[in-house]
Amino acid sequence: MYYTKLILVVALLSLCTVTTGGCWGRTEVDDLAFVTAIGLDRGEDNSLYLTLQVTVPRAVAGGEGGGGGGNNNKTSLITTMRGKSILGLIDLANTFIDRRLSFVHGKVLIIGEELAREGLTPYISELVRFHEIRRTMFLIIAKGTAREFITKNKPVLEQNPAKDLEMLTLAGEKTGLIPTSHIHRFLVEMQSLGEESLVILAGVNEREQSKQENESNENKYEDNDNILHSGLSPITKSDTHYIAGSSPSVGGNPVELLGAAVFRKDKMVGEITGEEMRYVLYLKGAFKQGITIIEDPFADGKFIAADLRFGRPVQIRLTRNGSKFHIKILITLEGGLIGSQGEEDYTNPGILKVIERQLSTEIEKGCNNIIEKAQTLFLADIFAFGNKARRLTTTWQEWLDLNWPEKFPYAEIEASVKIELRRTGLLFRSPQTTADSNNP
């Protein structure tokens, strides 16, 4: 009798754990449609275009039935709906997508430029409240529309278009040509008084597009020649001074991530190029590694490439003088000379010194230019100097009263760069072709 009761009690208790556990969301993975990219665009009459990219697992995994190459149409399903809110459209999508939509594997949130300029608060706050959305999703601003970007994205190496974007963003962080922008980061920065957001800028390379259009009826090789002869986009002084969609390149995926969209609060106010992005990263101290080129001080029209990284953390000294702020930044970089077109002996410390000086003045100039641009053009503290300024205040109210966004344009900012080149690459001496007399 005692045991019967005991068993009954134990059974009831375990039934409680089972029924009240709340883990009843059991679904098989093959009953889910995994949305990997979400695109948002401004539609007519204050409406919203929602573009969803749903991966087709069979095609991506290359199962027996699939066998598709990198064709975007096969590896993913792209659909665009028009409506008032993002989540409201999910159920609508399920009227024609046969598996339940799941956002748990969302990789990127792509927002059209027009919408970004209007302000992102309503959409970001709608998304981050939803439990399936990860805040680690990358945020990308597409020049043009998000839909265009998603449909034009045709990865070649990767089968999975979402993974392609993920890889691009991760690779971009290594080169320092795009910022790191997650939804979470954006959410924090758009509310912060001390800093403003920089979001990855994405675009479709138009020239590439035209080339692909031609491809359908013309011979490939001929067409390529035409492109080379007619010339790609005009080049700039630095090889990275472009924004997404305008880089002088041809072939491969027409989609590129380069440069950044500058935000003031939740509104996009401008764009900066890849090179400028790198200067911002120098100033923020978030730069990791990248190749910088300068003109050889000993030979006109020849260039030197240096692989730079931080020698020590960036030093930012912020002082307040009444309502005036002075910010002094010391950037210490070190690295190696990895390539040169010139013929100098770079192991000579004197020559190396000259190059170091040249490099530091270039970077200094670039830094000061982007500071000026931020202060005058964008009126946005994209360098997060405000977070340093906040340390000067003692209370929250004091910080609010300080109104840093107002003060930032008038701050006196001075950046100086110190560079030491530690290595000179694999050659002791450059190959000498013009100075035969010196070499027997």
Binding site: T17, V18, G21, C23, G25, R26, T27, E28, V29, D30, L32, F34, T36, T55, P57, R58, V60, A61, G62, G63, G65, G66, S102, V104, H105, K107, R134, N160, A162, K163
Partner: protein, 633 residues
């Protein structure tokens, strides 16, 4: 492979009993027949004489004879009860008593029945008890000892348990051919026979039917002589058995390659050979009311915790069952919690392992007829250890330990984790993997849980069938079956390929666990976890792990916490989850509370310091001298 081997000295059980119950020494209660032995009829030596007479029969029988009085009482103490339970007695009853044949089964059961002086009567009784008419292997040989006058004699033995040559040469030949002894002096045939005519090395005098029968059934030849109520039992035991083989379930690459077999005597010799200390105690107990199996209790006197020995002995002697023929059966009678899946004793077929555990202060149990020894108590960690851990250099041993823990976790949890991940938490899977899982699952018509169960059950089927498939093809067929089955199941879209991988890893994990019992427990735990994961996801797995840990932490094996020395934390040499270098293992497991905790000095590689450091050399020498000086009187 089959070689004859002689068995253990059969008196050891009696000696053990005399050690065993010394507490009852004071209340000696003589049986009614005891007086008859004390005051024997003419021609039979008095008790006091026996002591001197018995010198020819080896040293131990001597002891036994001198102890005859009090020993006898103890032998009949209820602890080692020979009396069968009533039900069994009925079904296996000795022949019902009849008026014509005075001694009968009941009398045999009655311990106190002693032999009579009439050889015919004795023979009749023994034949009766042994069911001579219908039992084909009971041999009775009557003959005359050619003394003057002739004396009638008879031998009884069980065919197949004895060495025939030995009986012919060492019993019948001397007694029948060269027995022309002049017994006119003493008229004491028995003594003459024993001292001069029986070259056997173990000869014991038995005065009652029960003892005689017990000996005969163990393969001893019983010699009856006209006019004496004493039966001489001569050890002639020899039977066919398996020779020492390689271990079959605890194989190692490096280390001894011999395993226990079914003969207790040779098993004990294997252990004794690895433990040449007089302190290694081998006590013989009897288990099983019908089988009367010899059960050896092994420990090291002065090292093993006596409480542990007492507890082990108590559980064995207080086990009442008719037929205990293997340590696997005995284990179930003496373990603490039969309803817990985890094995609570450690079984091993390796004598080196048994010896190593004995040296650490564990208690060992061997059963006659069982090629597996039991080691008590078992801890969770000891079930994950293999003999090879110690034979290999320490980094390798430690690495193997870590691999095994990993294997354990994989074997228990992997299918459950897969199930929980795919059913409840797809966001935790890397996207590419998720997509390939999804793609492979698309063609499968069943939910994942059914898939998992199908595969797990097939693996269990293959395992079970693989054991039954005869001979050499067994293992091959098992592997082939598994491969083909997996491949075909995937091709037929019954399961997804990734699941085949998971089930294969899981099966490998279970095989990597060195203890067979533990591997079995794991197989069942796995199913429990699969159900939990299917119903509750990671939440269920967490509940399961929590519960299992609670059960384990709460479990005791012979008074020793199951998870020690980790929980509760006790001093140890770091020989549980990990294995430190051997020279660092300075103490024995603390949770066993051995009488000597230290197993080696702090510096066991004493040569290293002496040779390397010249400065310290002198200091050490001084120290050594000091110590030696102290030791001197």
């Amino acid at each position: 492979m089959i070689t004859p081997m002689r068995s253990i000295p059969y008196y050891s059980s009696h000696i053990n009993e005399s050690d065993n119950s010394s507490e009852s020494e004071s209340g000696v209660c003589y049986s009614p027949f005891y007086s008859r032995i004390l005051d024997p009829p003419r021609g039979i030596p008095k008790l006091s004489d026996i002591q001197t007479i018995h010198t020819s029969g080896g040293d131990k029988p001597q002891m036994r004879s001198t102890n005859m009085g009090p020993r006898k009482k103890r032998k009949y103490s209820p602890r080692v009860n020979w009396v069968l339970p009533k039900k069994i007695k009925k079904s296996f009853s000795f022949r019902s008593p009849s008026k014509d044949s005075p001694p009968n089964g009941e009398e045999y059961n009655n311990e106190t029945t002693t032999l009579s002086k009439n050889i015919d009567e004795n023979l009749e009784t023994l034949k009766h008890i042994l069911h001579y008419e219908i039992n084909s292997d009971v041999i009775v040989r009557t003959f005359d000892i050619p003394t003057v006058p002739k004396v009638k004699a008879a031998i009884l033995f069980i065919d197949g348990l004895v060495a025939g040559d030995l009986i012919n040469l060492a019993i019948l030949q001397p007694l029948m051919l060269i027995a022309n002894l002049d017994t006119s002096e003493t008229k004491d045939h028995l003594n003459q026979v024993k001292r001069r005519l029986l070259p056997g090395n173990q000869v014991v005098e038995q005065d009652n039917y029960r003892a005689a029968i017990e000996d005969i059934l163990s393969g001893v030849t019983c010699l009856l002589i006209e006019g004496y109520d004493i039966a001489l039992t001569i050890d002639t035991r020899s039977w066919e058995h398996r020779s020492i083989d390689k271990p079959s379930s605890e194989m190692v690459v490096r280390g001894p390659q011999e395993a226990f077999n079914e003969t207790l005597k040779s098993n004990l010799a294997l252990i004794r050979r690895r433990m040449q200390t007089p302190d290694l105690i081998i006590e013989i107990l009897k288990v099983g009311t019908l089988s009367r199996t010899d059960c050896a209790l092994l420990y090291i006197e002065g090292l093993t915790n006596p409480q542990l020995v007492r507890e082990a002995k108590r559980r064995i002697t207080r086990t009442e069952s008719d037929h205990i023929q293997d340590t696997g059966i005995l284990e179930q009678f003496i373990e603490d919690k039969p309803y817990v899946l985890a094995p609570q004793t450690l079984s091993t077929e390796r004598p080196d392992r048994m010896a190593a555990f004995l040296a650490e202060g564990y208690v060992g149990i061997m059963l006659d007829g069982s090629p597996f020894g039991l080691i008590l108590p078992a801890t969770f960690w000891s079930l994950l250890q293999s003999a090879e851990d110690y034979f290999l250099r320490w980094p390798f041993g430690a690495f193997l330990r870590i691999i095994r823990v990993l294997a354990l976790v994989l074997a228990i949890l992997l299918p459950a984790i897969y199930l929980a991940l795919t059913n409840y938490h797809p966001e935790m899977i890397p996207t590419d993997l998720l997509l390939s899982i999804t793609a492979s699952r698309e063609r499968v018509p069943f939910p994942t849980i059914v898939e998992v169960l199908i595969m797990e059950l097939s693996i269990e089927l293959i395992r079970e069938a693989g054991i039954r498939i005869p001979g050499v093809i067994g293992s091959t067929l098992g592997i082939v079956g598994a491969l083909i089955l997996g491949q075909a199941a995937v091709a037929a879209s019954i399961v997804s390929p990734i699941l085949v991988v998971i089930v294969a890893i899981t099966a490998l994990g279970a095989f990597a666990v060195p203890n067979f019992n533990m591997a079995f427990a794991i197989r069942i735990y796995r199913f429990i976890y699969i159900i939990l994961a299917a119903v509750l996801g990671f939440y269920g797995v967490a509940i399961g792990v929590f519960t299992q840990l609670m059960v384990y932490v709460n479990l005791n094996s012979f008074g020793v916490p199951y998870m020690s020395p980790v929980a509760p934390y006790t001093k140890s040499s770091g020989d549980a989850l990990f294995r430190y270098p051997l020279w660092k293992l300075e103490i024995r497991p603390f949770f066993l509370k051995p009488q000597q905790i230290k197993r080696q000095p702090l510096i066991s590689r004493r040569w290293s310091k002496h040779e390397n450091k010249n400065n310290k050399n002198d200091k050490l020498k001084d120290n050594d001298e000091k110590i030696t000086n102290k030791m001197k009187p």
